[in-house]
């Protein structure tokens, strides 16, 4: 059965800390791995990764994929209260996105 597993399930840190969110997967027909951020409403797209070892960056966020070990990490440096959200990892396979359970990140001011 296809599965995407995220850890930790929840994380509480202080503003300014750096966090690393993990995502491992076992799926058939892997095409790409995506990270989304979900606050109150729609998940919003952060990154799409298709190749191993190539880091994608956007401001304080960065992500990398390891296709040999079947995992990805999302790093957030110098966290801010606006980073509080559920971060979703998903794998595009068999014409659909299969999601993990998400990591709920809470940033304390």
């Amino acid at each position: 059965e296809d599965k995407v597993v995220q850890s930790p399930l929840s994380l509480v840190v202080h503003e300014g800390d750096t966090v690393t969110l993990n995502c491992s997967y076992e799926v058939t027909n892997f095409r790409s791995l995506l990270w989304y951020k979900q606050e109150k409403k729609a998940p919003t797209f952060l990154f799409m990764l298709t190749s191993s070892g190539i880091e994608k960056k956007s401001g304080r966020l960065s992500s990398i994929l390891d296709k040999k070990e079947l995992f990805s990490i999302l790093n957030i440096t110098a966290t801010q209260t606006g980073d509080s959200a559920v971060y979703l990892c998903a794998v595009f396979q068999n014409e659909k996105l299969t999601f993990g359970t998400g990591t709920r990140l809470t940033i304390i001011p």
Binding site: L34, K41, A42, F45, L88, K96, L97, T101
Partner: protein, 114 residues
């Protein structure tokens, strides 16, 4: 302009009723999806349509019937609602041709069945 719009945003109804949720996208995408998000925030695929053709039906009860009148619209009709149908339903779209795998999501429709 809202890229993927769903109506209604909130729906409260009694068990046994029939209800519909509508979705429209103005991104010119050729593929649309319905996802269900439970109380633990887990998002699970229900259906996918490409150019009005059903391509994914992920073991969803027959009470759920999607309809795609054209590639910009995908509606979801639910018959004989049950308590377990309470969830947030997200519509999404993507461009399948060319291999783009990024889904754009609507704001969700929260369904509460009493």
């Amino acid at each position: 302009d809202t890229a993927v719009s769903q109506t209604p945003k909130y729906l409260v109804t009694q068990m046994g009723n029939d209800k519909s949720i509508k979705c429209e996208q103005n991104l010119g995408h050729d593929t649309m999806y319905w996802y269900k998000q439970d109380s633990k925030k887990f998002l699970k695929i229900m259906f996918s349509y490409n150019n009005k053709e059903l391509i994914i039906n992920e073991t969803v009860p027959n009470r759920f019937s999607p309809k795609s009148p054209d590639k910009a619209h995908l509606n979801l009709h639910i018959n004989s609602l049950e308590l377990g149908d309470s969830a947030v339903y997200f519509c999404a779209s993507s461009q399948r041709t060319g291999g783009a795998n990024v889904l754009t999501f609507g704001a969700g429709s929260r369904l509460t069945v009493l």
